[in-house]
Symmetry: C2
Protein backbone atom coordinates (compact mmCIF):
# COMPACT_ATOMS: atom_id res chain seq x y z
CA UNK A 1 0.00 0.00 0.00
CA UNK A 2 1.24 3.52 -0.86
CA UNK A 3 1.53 5.67 2.25
CA UNK A 4 2.87 9.13 3.11
CA UNK A 5 4.44 10.05 6.43
CA UNK A 6 2.73 13.13 7.86
CA UNK A 7 4.54 15.00 10.63
CA UNK A 8 3.00 17.89 12.54
CA UNK A 9 5.39 19.81 14.77
CA UNK A 10 3.39 21.81 17.30
CA UNK A 11 4.39 23.98 20.22
CA UNK A 12 3.15 21.31 22.63
CA UNK A 13 2.97 18.00 20.76
CA UNK A 14 4.60 16.49 17.70
CA UNK A 15 2.34 14.05 15.85
CA UNK A 16 3.47 11.50 13.29
CA UNK A 17 1.22 9.31 11.16
CA UNK A 18 0.91 7.25 7.98
CA UNK A 19 -1.70 8.54 5.53
CA UNK A 20 -3.09 6.90 2.42
CA UNK A 21 -4.24 8.53 -0.83
CA UNK A 22 -7.78 9.10 0.43
CA UNK A 23 -6.55 10.96 3.50
CA UNK A 24 -7.13 8.04 5.85
CA UNK A 25 -4.58 8.02 8.68
CA UNK A 26 -3.71 4.33 9.19
CA UNK A 27 -1.79 4.78 12.43
CA UNK A 28 -0.19 7.59 14.39
CA UNK A 29 1.63 8.45 17.59
CA UNK A 30 2.72 11.61 19.34
CA UNK A 31 5.19 12.89 21.89
CA UNK A 32 5.87 16.14 23.73
CA UNK A 33 7.89 18.56 21.61
CA UNK A 34 9.18 20.40 24.66
CA UNK A 35 10.89 17.26 26.00
CA UNK A 36 13.58 17.75 23.34
CA UNK A 37 15.90 20.65 24.03
CA UNK A 38 18.26 19.74 21.19
CA UNK A 39 17.16 19.60 17.58
CA UNK A 40 19.23 16.47 16.87
CA UNK A 41 17.57 14.56 19.72
CA UNK A 42 14.19 15.68 18.43
CA UNK A 43 14.97 14.49 14.89
CA UNK A 44 16.26 11.14 16.20
CA UNK A 45 12.98 10.75 18.05
CA UNK A 46 11.09 11.40 14.80
CA UNK A 47 13.19 8.80 12.98
CA UNK A 48 12.50 6.21 15.71
CA UNK A 49 8.80 7.03 15.70
CA UNK A 50 8.58 6.52 11.93
CA UNK A 51 10.37 3.17 12.27
CA UNK A 52 7.94 2.15 15.00
CA UNK A 53 4.90 3.05 12.91
CA UNK A 54 6.13 1.30 9.77
CA UNK A 55 7.08 -1.85 11.69
CA UNK A 56 3.52 -2.14 12.98
CA UNK A 57 1.93 -1.95 9.48
CA UNK A 58 0.80 -5.29 8.04
CA UNK A 59 1.32 -6.21 4.38
CA UNK A 60 3.73 -4.61 1.93
CA UNK A 61 4.36 -0.94 2.49
CA UNK A 62 5.50 1.68 0.01
CA UNK A 63 6.47 5.02 1.57
CA UNK A 64 6.30 7.63 -1.16
CA UNK A 65 7.28 10.72 0.78
CA UNK A 66 7.27 12.71 3.98
CA UNK A 67 5.32 15.94 4.54
CA UNK A 68 5.98 18.21 7.50
CA UNK A 69 3.87 20.98 8.95
CA UNK A 70 5.56 23.33 11.43
CA UNK A 71 5.10 26.86 12.74
CA UNK A 72 7.07 29.53 10.84
CA UNK A 73 8.29 27.02 8.26
CA UNK A 74 9.35 28.29 4.85
CA UNK A 75 8.34 26.06 1.95
CA UNK A 76 11.04 27.67 -0.18
CA UNK A 77 14.09 27.32 2.07
CA UNK A 78 13.07 24.23 4.07
CA UNK A 79 13.73 26.01 7.35
CA UNK A 80 11.83 27.01 10.49
CA UNK A 81 12.51 30.65 11.34
CA UNK A 82 12.24 32.07 14.85
CA UNK A 83 9.10 30.15 15.80
CA UNK A 84 7.53 31.69 18.90
CA UNK A 85 6.38 28.39 20.35
CA UNK A 86 9.41 26.18 19.68
CA UNK A 87 12.64 25.93 21.66
CA UNK A 88 15.06 26.00 18.73
CA UNK A 89 15.68 29.63 17.88
CA UNK A 90 17.04 31.33 14.78
CA UNK A 91 16.91 29.67 11.36
CA UNK A 92 16.57 25.89 11.76
CA UNK A 93 17.46 23.83 8.61
CA UNK A 94 15.04 21.09 9.57
CA UNK A 95 14.40 19.63 6.11
CA UNK A 96 18.08 19.11 5.36
CA UNK A 97 18.74 17.50 8.76
CA UNK A 98 15.71 15.22 8.61
CA UNK A 99 16.67 14.04 5.12
CA UNK A 100 19.91 12.72 6.64
CA UNK A 101 17.74 10.40 8.74
CA UNK A 102 14.83 9.62 6.42
CA UNK A 103 15.65 9.16 2.75
CA UNK A 104 12.37 10.10 1.08
CA UNK A 105 10.97 12.97 -1.02
CA UNK A 106 10.24 15.62 1.58
CA UNK A 107 8.31 18.88 1.76
CA UNK A 108 7.79 21.29 4.64
CA UNK A 109 5.31 24.10 5.10
CA UNK A 110 3.76 26.37 7.69
CA UNK A 111 1.54 23.95 9.71
CA UNK A 112 -1.63 25.89 9.00
CA UNK A 113 -0.94 26.09 5.27
CA UNK A 114 -0.51 22.32 5.34
CA UNK A 115 -3.83 22.05 7.19
CA UNK A 116 -5.47 24.13 4.43
CA UNK A 117 -4.10 21.81 1.77
CA UNK A 118 -5.36 18.79 3.77
CA UNK A 119 -8.81 20.36 3.95
CA UNK A 120 -8.78 20.91 0.19
CA UNK A 121 -7.60 17.37 -0.69
CA UNK A 122 -9.37 15.28 1.98
CA UNK A 123 -11.80 17.44 3.97
CA UNK A 124 -14.66 19.90 3.73
CA UNK A 125 -12.97 22.32 1.33
CA UNK A 126 -13.07 19.94 -1.64
CA UNK A 127 -13.98 21.99 -4.70
CA UNK A 128 -13.59 25.37 -2.98
CA UNK A 129 -11.20 27.83 -4.56
CA UNK A 130 -11.25 30.57 -1.90
CA UNK A 131 -11.02 29.68 1.78
CA UNK A 132 -8.89 30.18 4.89
CA UNK A 133 -7.95 27.50 7.42
CA UNK A 134 -7.30 28.65 10.99
CA UNK A 135 -5.57 26.41 13.55
CA UNK A 136 -6.12 27.31 17.18
CA UNK A 137 -3.49 25.60 19.31
CA UNK A 138 -0.78 27.08 21.49
CA UNK A 139 -0.81 29.90 18.94
CA UNK A 140 -2.99 30.85 15.95
CA UNK A 141 -1.96 29.60 12.53
CA UNK A 142 -3.50 30.21 9.12
CA UNK A 143 -3.39 28.84 5.60
CA UNK A 144 -4.87 30.87 2.78
CA UNK A 145 -6.21 29.46 -0.48
CA UNK A 146 -7.24 31.91 -3.22
CA UNK A 147 -7.93 31.25 -6.91
CA UNK A 148 -7.67 27.54 -6.02
CA UNK A 149 -4.02 27.87 -4.94
CA UNK A 150 -2.24 28.02 -1.62
CA UNK A 151 -0.76 31.50 -1.08
CA UNK A 152 2.91 30.91 -0.22
CA UNK A 153 4.23 34.47 -0.40
CA UNK A 154 7.41 35.95 -1.81
CA UNK A 155 9.74 33.61 0.08
CA UNK A 156 7.34 31.15 1.64
CA UNK A 157 6.13 32.92 4.79
CA UNK A 158 2.62 34.03 3.85
CA UNK A 159 -0.27 33.37 6.23
CA UNK A 160 1.10 34.48 9.61
CA UNK A 161 -2.26 35.86 10.70
CA UNK A 162 -1.59 35.07 14.37
CA UNK A 163 0.79 38.04 14.38
CA UNK A 164 -1.52 40.63 12.89
CA UNK A 165 -1.86 43.58 15.25
CA UNK A 166 -5.48 44.49 15.93
CA UNK A 167 -4.84 47.21 18.53
CA UNK A 168 -2.85 50.00 16.86
CA UNK A 169 0.28 48.75 18.60
CA UNK A 170 -1.17 48.95 22.08
CA UNK A 171 -2.07 45.44 23.18
CA UNK A 172 -0.77 42.20 24.65
CA UNK A 173 2.59 40.89 23.48
CA UNK A 174 2.77 37.58 21.61
CA UNK A 175 5.60 35.07 22.06
CA UNK A 176 7.34 36.94 19.22
CA UNK A 177 6.94 40.25 21.07
CA UNK A 178 4.35 41.49 18.59
CA UNK A 179 2.21 44.07 20.35
CA UNK A 180 -1.48 43.35 19.99
CA UNK A 181 -0.86 40.22 17.91
CA UNK A 182 -4.02 38.22 17.32
CA UNK A 183 -2.76 34.98 18.85
CA UNK A 184 -2.15 36.75 22.16
CA UNK A 185 -5.97 36.84 22.34
CA UNK A 186 -7.28 34.06 20.13
CA UNK A 187 -5.60 30.72 20.96
CA UNK A 188 -5.53 28.31 23.90
CA UNK A 189 -2.89 30.55 25.49
CA UNK A 190 -4.85 33.70 24.67
CA UNK A 191 -7.96 32.33 26.40
CA UNK A 192 -5.95 31.60 29.54
CA UNK A 193 -4.53 35.12 29.48
CA UNK A 194 -8.07 36.47 29.13
CA UNK A 195 -9.11 34.55 32.27
CA UNK A 196 -6.43 36.53 34.14
CA UNK A 197 -7.54 39.76 32.48
CA UNK A 198 -11.18 39.23 33.43
CA UNK A 199 -10.24 38.43 37.03
CA UNK A 200 -8.22 41.66 37.10
CA UNK A 201 -11.14 43.62 35.69
CA UNK A 202 -14.06 42.19 37.67
CA UNK A 203 -14.41 41.28 41.33
CA UNK A 204 -16.91 38.41 40.85
CA UNK A 205 -15.92 35.08 42.34
CA UNK A 206 -14.57 32.36 40.10
CA UNK A 207 -13.04 28.91 40.46
CA UNK A 208 -10.00 30.32 38.67
CA UNK A 209 -9.10 32.51 41.62
CA UNK A 210 -7.71 29.38 43.28
CA UNK A 211 -5.92 27.94 40.22
CA UNK A 212 -2.47 29.12 39.12
CA UNK A 213 -1.96 30.17 35.49
CA UNK A 214 0.39 27.26 34.83
CA UNK A 215 -2.24 24.79 36.06
CA UNK A 216 -4.98 26.20 33.84
CA UNK A 217 -6.26 24.12 30.89
CA UNK A 218 -8.71 24.90 28.12
CA UNK A 219 -11.04 22.04 29.11
CA UNK A 220 -11.34 23.50 32.62
CA UNK A 221 -12.49 26.81 31.18
CA UNK A 222 -15.21 25.12 29.11
CA UNK A 223 -16.33 23.13 32.14
CA UNK A 224 -16.44 26.27 34.26
CA UNK A 225 -18.56 28.07 31.65
CA UNK A 226 -20.98 25.15 31.68
CA UNK A 227 -21.27 25.50 35.43
CA UNK A 228 -22.02 29.20 35.10
CA UNK A 229 -18.63 30.63 36.07
CA UNK A 230 -18.96 34.30 35.04
CA UNK A 231 -15.25 34.82 34.47
CA UNK A 232 -15.13 31.86 32.07
CA UNK A 233 -18.19 33.09 30.18
CA UNK A 234 -16.81 36.61 29.91
CA UNK A 235 -13.47 35.22 28.71
CA UNK A 236 -15.13 33.25 25.90
CA UNK A 237 -17.19 36.27 24.88
CA UNK A 238 -14.12 38.53 24.78
CA UNK A 239 -12.14 35.97 22.78
CA UNK A 240 -15.02 35.50 20.32
CA UNK A 241 -15.40 39.26 19.86
CA UNK A 242 -11.78 39.75 18.84
CA UNK A 243 -11.85 36.58 16.73
CA UNK A 244 -15.05 37.66 14.94
CA UNK A 245 -13.56 41.04 14.12
CA UNK A 246 -10.37 39.37 12.89
CA UNK A 247 -12.25 37.01 10.56
CA UNK A 248 -14.26 39.97 9.24
CA UNK A 249 -10.97 41.77 8.55
CA UNK A 250 -9.56 38.71 6.77
CA UNK A 251 -12.67 38.56 4.62
CA UNK A 252 -11.87 42.03 3.27
CA UNK A 253 -8.51 40.65 2.16
CA UNK A 254 -9.19 37.60 -0.05
CA UNK A 255 -12.96 37.26 0.34
CA UNK A 256 -13.01 33.55 1.20
CA UNK A 257 -16.14 31.44 0.81
CA UNK A 258 -15.47 29.86 4.20
CA UNK A 259 -13.18 29.71 7.21
CA UNK A 260 -12.27 26.25 8.53
CA UNK A 261 -11.41 26.03 12.21
CA UNK A 262 -9.38 23.34 13.95
CA UNK A 263 -7.49 22.97 17.19
CA UNK A 264 -8.03 22.95 20.94
CA UNK A 265 -10.11 26.11 21.25
CA UNK A 266 -12.76 24.71 18.90
CA UNK A 267 -13.49 21.97 21.44
CA UNK A 268 -15.08 24.59 23.66
CA UNK A 269 -17.98 24.32 21.21
CA UNK A 270 -20.90 26.71 21.60
CA UNK A 271 -19.07 28.78 24.22
CA UNK A 272 -16.73 30.10 21.59
CA UNK A 273 -18.63 29.38 18.36
CA UNK A 274 -22.00 30.98 19.15
CA UNK A 275 -20.64 34.41 20.09
CA UNK A 276 -18.05 34.12 17.28
CA UNK A 277 -20.77 33.69 14.67
CA UNK A 278 -22.68 36.69 16.07
CA UNK A 279 -19.70 39.06 16.27
CA UNK A 280 -18.44 37.95 12.86
CA UNK A 281 -21.68 38.78 11.02
CA UNK A 282 -21.94 42.05 12.94
CA UNK A 283 -18.44 43.12 11.86
CA UNK A 284 -18.65 42.04 8.21
CA UNK A 285 -18.93 44.74 5.53
CA UNK A 286 -22.42 44.74 4.00
CA UNK A 287 -21.06 43.45 0.72
CA UNK A 288 -19.94 40.22 2.46
CA UNK A 289 -22.82 39.68 4.90
CA UNK A 290 -24.42 36.24 4.69
CA UNK A 291 -21.86 35.02 2.14
CA UNK A 292 -19.03 33.70 4.33
CA UNK A 293 -19.33 30.52 6.38
CA UNK A 294 -17.48 29.54 9.55
CA UNK A 295 -17.07 25.75 9.33
CA UNK A 296 -15.30 22.99 11.17
CA UNK A 297 -12.62 20.87 9.59
CA UNK A 298 -13.88 17.75 7.79
CA UNK A 299 -10.89 15.75 8.96
CA UNK A 300 -10.81 13.61 12.13
CA UNK A 301 -9.73 15.92 14.95
CA UNK A 302 -6.80 13.95 16.25
CA UNK A 303 -5.17 13.52 12.86
CA UNK A 304 -6.13 16.76 11.07
CA UNK A 305 -2.61 18.14 11.24
CA UNK A 306 -1.04 14.84 10.20
CA UNK A 307 -3.32 14.62 7.15
CA UNK A 308 -2.43 18.23 6.31
CA UNK A 309 1.26 17.45 6.41
CA UNK A 310 0.74 14.34 4.28
CA UNK A 311 -1.26 16.42 1.78
CA UNK A 312 1.95 18.25 0.88
CA UNK A 313 3.16 15.04 -0.75
CA UNK A 314 -0.18 13.66 -1.97
CA UNK A 315 -0.84 16.97 -3.77
CA UNK A 316 2.10 16.16 -6.05
CA UNK A 317 0.84 12.62 -6.76
CA UNK A 318 -2.54 13.44 -8.30
CA UNK B 1 -4.00 51.94 -34.09
CA UNK B 2 -5.48 49.53 -31.51
CA UNK B 3 -6.63 51.38 -28.41
CA UNK B 4 -8.54 50.55 -25.23
CA UNK B 5 -10.84 52.95 -23.40
CA UNK B 6 -9.84 53.15 -19.75
CA UNK B 7 -12.36 54.64 -17.32
CA UNK B 8 -11.60 55.34 -13.68
CA UNK B 9 -14.61 56.25 -11.55
CA UNK B 10 -13.41 57.92 -8.36
CA UNK B 11 -15.22 59.52 -5.45
CA UNK B 12 -14.15 62.96 -6.66
CA UNK B 13 -13.19 62.70 -10.34
CA UNK B 14 -13.99 60.39 -13.23
CA UNK B 15 -11.12 60.03 -15.69
CA UNK B 16 -11.38 58.64 -19.22
CA UNK B 17 -8.52 57.93 -21.59
CA UNK B 18 -7.33 55.98 -24.62
CA UNK B 19 -4.50 53.56 -23.92
CA UNK B 20 -2.31 51.62 -26.36
CA UNK B 21 -0.79 48.16 -25.94
CA UNK B 22 2.35 49.48 -24.23
CA UNK B 23 0.33 51.32 -21.59
CA UNK B 24 0.79 54.73 -23.19
CA UNK B 25 -2.23 56.95 -22.57
CA UNK B 26 -2.71 58.85 -25.86
CA UNK B 27 -5.26 61.33 -24.57
CA UNK B 28 -7.54 61.73 -21.59
CA UNK B 29 -10.05 64.02 -19.91
CA UNK B 30 -11.86 64.13 -16.60
CA UNK B 31 -14.93 65.59 -14.94
CA UNK B 32 -16.36 65.79 -11.43
CA UNK B 33 -18.21 62.61 -10.46
CA UNK B 34 -20.29 64.43 -7.89
CA UNK B 35 -21.83 66.73 -10.50
CA UNK B 36 -23.99 63.79 -11.63
CA UNK B 37 -26.77 62.91 -9.21
CA UNK B 38 -28.40 60.46 -11.61
CA UNK B 39 -26.59 57.38 -12.92
CA UNK B 40 -28.05 57.81 -16.41
CA UNK B 41 -26.76 61.39 -16.69
CA UNK B 42 -23.37 60.17 -15.53
CA UNK B 43 -23.27 57.38 -18.13
CA UNK B 44 -24.37 59.80 -20.88
CA UNK B 45 -21.48 62.05 -19.88
CA UNK B 46 -19.10 59.09 -20.20
CA UNK B 47 -20.45 58.27 -23.65
CA UNK B 48 -20.00 61.91 -24.80
CA UNK B 49 -16.49 62.00 -23.34
CA UNK B 50 -15.48 58.86 -25.22
CA UNK B 51 -16.86 60.35 -28.44
CA UNK B 52 -14.92 63.55 -27.83
CA UNK B 53 -11.65 61.66 -27.24
CA UNK B 54 -12.00 59.41 -30.29
CA UNK B 55 -12.91 62.36 -32.56
CA UNK B 56 -9.64 64.06 -31.62
CA UNK B 57 -7.46 61.05 -32.52
CA UNK B 58 -5.66 61.28 -35.84
CA UNK B 59 -5.36 58.30 -38.21
CA UNK B 60 -7.44 55.15 -38.20
CA UNK B 61 -8.62 54.04 -34.80
CA UNK B 62 -9.57 50.54 -33.65
CA UNK B 63 -11.23 50.42 -30.22
CA UNK B 64 -10.86 46.89 -28.92
CA UNK B 65 -12.58 47.24 -25.56
CA UNK B 66 -13.44 49.29 -22.51
CA UNK B 67 -12.06 48.67 -19.01
CA UNK B 68 -13.57 50.30 -15.94
CA UNK B 69 -12.14 50.70 -12.47
CA UNK B 70 -14.56 51.75 -9.72
CA UNK B 71 -14.82 51.52 -5.94
CA UNK B 72 -16.71 48.44 -4.67
CA UNK B 73 -17.06 47.02 -8.17
CA UNK B 74 -17.58 43.29 -8.56
CA UNK B 75 -15.76 41.73 -11.48
CA UNK B 76 -18.18 38.80 -11.41
CA UNK B 77 -21.55 40.60 -11.43
CA UNK B 78 -20.55 43.82 -13.25
CA UNK B 79 -22.07 45.95 -10.51
CA UNK B 80 -20.96 48.60 -8.01
CA UNK B 81 -22.23 47.73 -4.52
CA UNK B 82 -22.83 50.35 -1.82
CA UNK B 83 -19.73 52.40 -2.56
CA UNK B 84 -19.01 54.74 0.36
CA UNK B 85 -17.73 57.57 -1.83
CA UNK B 86 -20.28 57.51 -4.66
CA UNK B 87 -23.77 58.99 -4.74
CA UNK B 88 -25.57 56.02 -6.29
CA UNK B 89 -26.51 53.66 -3.49
CA UNK B 90 -27.41 49.98 -3.45
CA UNK B 91 -26.41 47.62 -6.27
CA UNK B 92 -25.66 49.61 -9.43
CA UNK B 93 -25.67 47.53 -12.69
CA UNK B 94 -23.14 49.84 -14.30
CA UNK B 95 -21.66 47.41 -16.83
CA UNK B 96 -25.03 46.49 -18.31
CA UNK B 97 -26.11 50.13 -18.56
CA UNK B 98 -22.86 51.34 -20.08
CA UNK B 99 -22.97 48.58 -22.69
CA UNK B 100 -26.25 50.08 -23.92
CA UNK B 101 -24.26 53.22 -24.77
CA UNK B 102 -20.86 51.82 -25.81
CA UNK B 103 -20.91 48.62 -27.85
CA UNK B 104 -17.52 47.11 -27.01
CA UNK B 105 -16.11 44.20 -24.97
CA UNK B 106 -16.24 45.53 -21.42
CA UNK B 107 -14.79 44.56 -18.05
CA UNK B 108 -15.15 46.21 -14.65
CA UNK B 109 -13.18 45.75 -11.45
CA UNK B 110 -12.43 47.33 -8.10
CA UNK B 111 -10.36 50.42 -9.02
CA UNK B 112 -7.39 49.39 -6.95
CA UNK B 113 -7.38 45.85 -8.37
CA UNK B 114 -7.33 47.44 -11.82
CA UNK B 115 -4.42 49.62 -10.70
CA UNK B 116 -2.56 46.49 -9.57
CA UNK B 117 -3.09 44.91 -12.98
CA UNK B 118 -1.87 48.12 -14.65
CA UNK B 119 1.26 48.05 -12.50
CA UNK B 120 1.89 44.43 -13.50
CA UNK B 121 1.35 44.99 -17.24
CA UNK B 122 2.81 48.48 -17.73
CA UNK B 123 4.52 49.66 -14.54
CA UNK B 124 7.06 48.76 -11.88
CA UNK B 125 5.57 45.37 -10.96
CA UNK B 126 6.53 43.72 -14.26
CA UNK B 127 7.76 40.21 -13.45
CA UNK B 128 6.62 40.31 -9.81
CA UNK B 129 4.30 37.54 -8.67
CA UNK B 130 3.49 38.79 -5.15
CA UNK B 131 2.67 42.45 -4.56
CA UNK B 132 -0.08 44.76 -3.30
CA UNK B 133 -1.14 48.06 -4.90
CA UNK B 134 -2.61 50.70 -2.58
CA UNK B 135 -4.51 53.73 -3.91
CA UNK B 136 -4.79 56.69 -1.58
CA UNK B 137 -7.53 58.97 -2.80
CA UNK B 138 -10.78 60.00 -1.13
CA UNK B 139 -10.59 56.52 0.44
CA UNK B 140 -8.02 53.72 0.51
CA UNK B 141 -8.22 51.03 -2.16
CA UNK B 142 -6.15 47.90 -2.64
CA UNK B 143 -5.39 45.31 -5.29
CA UNK B 144 -3.66 42.09 -4.29
CA UNK B 145 -1.54 39.92 -6.58
CA UNK B 146 -0.32 36.55 -5.24
CA UNK B 147 1.15 33.60 -7.14
CA UNK B 148 1.18 35.92 -10.17
CA UNK B 149 -2.61 36.29 -10.17
CA UNK B 150 -5.01 38.99 -9.09
CA UNK B 151 -6.99 37.84 -6.03
CA UNK B 152 -10.65 38.42 -6.92
CA UNK B 153 -12.34 36.60 -4.05
CA UNK B 154 -15.36 34.33 -3.88
CA UNK B 155 -17.69 36.71 -5.68
CA UNK B 156 -15.33 39.41 -6.83
CA UNK B 157 -15.00 41.67 -3.78
CA UNK B 158 -11.53 40.80 -2.49
CA UNK B 159 -9.11 43.57 -1.56
CA UNK B 160 -11.22 45.97 0.49
CA UNK B 161 -8.35 46.79 2.82
CA UNK B 162 -9.62 50.33 3.42
CA UNK B 163 -12.29 48.81 5.62
CA UNK B 164 -10.10 46.66 7.82
CA UNK B 165 -10.58 47.60 11.45
CA UNK B 166 -7.31 48.29 13.24
CA UNK B 167 -8.78 49.40 16.57
CA UNK B 168 -10.73 46.48 18.06
CA UNK B 169 -13.95 48.16 17.02
CA UNK B 170 -13.28 51.41 18.83
CA UNK B 171 -12.15 53.95 16.26
CA UNK B 172 -13.30 56.50 13.68
CA UNK B 173 -16.18 55.59 11.42
CA UNK B 174 -15.58 55.26 7.66
CA UNK B 175 -18.11 56.38 5.06
CA UNK B 176 -19.49 52.82 5.28
CA UNK B 177 -19.88 53.15 9.06
CA UNK B 178 -17.03 50.72 9.69
CA UNK B 179 -15.60 51.48 13.12
CA UNK B 180 -11.84 51.92 13.05
CA UNK B 181 -11.65 51.27 9.29
CA UNK B 182 -8.20 51.98 7.89
CA UNK B 183 -9.33 54.55 5.32
CA UNK B 184 -10.77 56.71 8.09
CA UNK B 185 -7.11 57.32 8.98
CA UNK B 186 -5.06 56.65 5.86
CA UNK B 187 -6.42 58.59 2.87
CA UNK B 188 -6.77 62.23 1.83
CA UNK B 189 -9.91 62.40 3.96
CA UNK B 190 -8.23 60.59 6.85
CA UNK B 191 -5.39 63.10 6.90
CA UNK B 192 -7.86 66.00 7.08
CA UNK B 193 -9.66 64.27 9.97
CA UNK B 194 -6.32 63.86 11.71
CA UNK B 195 -5.67 67.61 11.41
CA UNK B 196 -8.89 68.13 13.40
CA UNK B 197 -7.90 65.43 15.88
CA UNK B 198 -4.46 66.96 16.46
CA UNK B 199 -5.98 70.43 16.98
CA UNK B 200 -8.37 68.87 19.51
CA UNK B 201 -5.49 67.16 21.30
CA UNK B 202 -2.87 69.93 21.34
CA UNK B 203 -3.14 73.64 21.99
CA UNK B 204 -0.22 74.72 19.74
CA UNK B 205 -1.06 77.33 17.14
CA UNK B 206 -1.59 76.25 13.53
CA UNK B 207 -2.71 77.83 10.28
CA UNK B 208 -5.50 75.25 10.27
CA UNK B 209 -7.22 76.89 13.24
CA UNK B 210 -8.51 79.50 10.80
CA UNK B 211 -9.47 77.16 7.97
CA UNK B 212 -12.77 75.25 7.93
CA UNK B 213 -12.71 71.46 7.36
CA UNK B 214 -14.49 71.81 4.04
CA UNK B 215 -11.87 74.26 2.80
CA UNK B 216 -8.97 72.01 3.74
CA UNK B 217 -6.89 70.40 0.97
CA UNK B 218 -4.06 67.88 1.05
CA UNK B 219 -1.63 70.24 -0.69
CA UNK B 220 -2.19 72.84 2.06
CA UNK B 221 -1.21 70.29 4.68
CA UNK B 222 2.05 69.47 2.88
CA UNK B 223 2.81 73.19 2.49
CA UNK B 224 2.11 73.79 6.17
CA UNK B 225 4.46 70.95 7.16
CA UNK B 226 7.17 72.50 5.00
CA UNK B 227 6.69 75.77 6.85
CA UNK B 228 7.02 74.01 10.19
CA UNK B 229 3.35 73.88 11.22
CA UNK B 230 3.42 71.45 14.16
CA UNK B 231 -0.14 70.24 13.71
CA UNK B 232 0.56 69.31 10.07
CA UNK B 233 3.77 67.46 11.02
CA UNK B 234 2.01 65.58 13.83
CA UNK B 235 -0.82 64.67 11.47
CA UNK B 236 1.57 63.17 8.91
CA UNK B 237 3.41 61.22 11.61
CA UNK B 238 0.15 59.81 13.03
CA UNK B 239 -1.07 58.84 9.55
CA UNK B 240 2.25 57.18 8.73
CA UNK B 241 2.26 55.25 12.00
CA UNK B 242 -1.12 53.67 11.33
CA UNK B 243 -0.26 53.11 7.67
CA UNK B 244 3.05 51.44 8.56
CA UNK B 245 1.35 49.10 10.99
CA UNK B 246 -1.32 48.29 8.40
CA UNK B 247 1.25 47.42 5.72
CA UNK B 248 3.11 45.25 8.24
CA UNK B 249 -0.19 43.45 8.96
CA UNK B 250 -0.85 42.98 5.24
CA UNK B 251 2.62 41.48 4.84
CA UNK B 252 1.67 38.71 7.30
CA UNK B 253 -1.20 37.89 4.96
CA UNK B 254 0.26 37.26 1.48
CA UNK B 255 3.91 38.22 2.06
CA UNK B 256 4.25 40.55 -0.92
CA UNK B 257 7.62 41.48 -2.37
CA UNK B 258 6.52 45.11 -2.59
CA UNK B 259 3.71 47.58 -1.98
CA UNK B 260 3.01 50.11 -4.75
CA UNK B 261 1.48 53.40 -3.66
CA UNK B 262 -0.49 55.85 -5.79
CA UNK B 263 -2.90 58.69 -5.21
CA UNK B 264 -3.10 62.12 -3.66
CA UNK B 265 -1.55 61.35 -0.29
CA UNK B 266 1.67 60.16 -1.96
CA UNK B 267 2.22 63.68 -3.31
CA UNK B 268 3.01 64.78 0.23
CA UNK B 269 6.36 63.06 -0.41
CA UNK B 270 8.82 62.76 2.45
CA UNK B 271 6.30 64.02 5.01
CA UNK B 272 4.36 60.81 4.69
CA UNK B 273 6.92 58.43 3.14
CA UNK B 274 9.85 58.88 5.55
CA UNK B 275 7.91 58.13 8.74
CA UNK B 276 5.97 55.42 6.88
CA UNK B 277 9.19 53.57 5.98
CA UNK B 278 10.39 53.81 9.59
CA UNK B 279 7.15 52.63 11.24
CA UNK B 280 6.73 49.87 8.66
CA UNK B 281 10.14 48.27 9.30
CA UNK B 282 9.60 48.67 13.04
CA UNK B 283 6.27 46.81 12.92
CA UNK B 284 7.32 44.00 10.54
CA UNK B 285 7.77 40.51 11.98
CA UNK B 286 11.48 39.56 12.04
CA UNK B 287 10.93 36.98 9.33
CA UNK B 288 9.90 39.75 6.90
CA UNK B 289 12.30 42.54 7.91
CA UNK B 290 14.34 43.98 5.05
CA UNK B 291 12.49 41.90 2.46
CA UNK B 292 9.47 44.06 1.59
CA UNK B 293 9.75 47.28 -0.40
CA UNK B 294 7.46 50.28 -0.39
CA UNK B 295 7.57 51.64 -3.94
CA UNK B 296 5.84 54.25 -6.04
CA UNK B 297 3.79 53.37 -9.10
CA UNK B 298 5.77 53.22 -12.35
CA UNK B 299 2.87 54.74 -14.27
CA UNK B 300 2.45 58.48 -14.96
CA UNK B 301 0.55 59.89 -12.00
CA UNK B 302 -2.28 61.56 -13.85
CA UNK B 303 -3.16 58.48 -15.88
CA UNK B 304 -2.29 55.63 -13.48
CA UNK B 305 -5.91 54.77 -12.85
CA UNK B 306 -6.83 55.02 -16.55
CA UNK B 307 -3.98 52.64 -17.49
CA UNK B 308 -5.13 50.26 -14.76
CA UNK B 309 -8.66 50.22 -16.12
CA UNK B 310 -7.35 49.67 -19.67
CA UNK B 311 -5.16 46.80 -18.37
CA UNK B 312 -8.36 44.83 -17.70
CA UNK B 313 -8.81 44.57 -21.47
CA UNK B 314 -5.15 44.47 -22.55
CA UNK B 315 -4.56 41.53 -20.15
CA UNK B 316 -6.89 39.47 -22.34
CA UNK B 317 -5.09 40.46 -25.57
CA UNK B 318 -1.60 39.15 -24.74
Amino acid sequence: MDLVIGIDIGGTKTKIGLVDKSGDCKDYLFFRTKDYELLDDFLDKIKHSVDELTRKQKGSLNLIGCGIGAPNASSRSGTIENAANLKWKGSVPILEKLKQRIDLPMRIMNDASAAALGEMLFGNAKGMSDFIAITLGTGLGSGIVANGQLIEGYDGFAGELGHIDMTLGDGRLTGLNVKGGLEAYVSATGLKRTILYMMSKYMVDSRFRSIAYNDLHGEDITKAAEEGDEIAIKAFDYTAKIFGLALANFTAFTQPQAFFLTGGLVNSGKWILDPLERYFEECLLDVYKGKVKILMSGLPEKTTAICGAAALIWEKHR
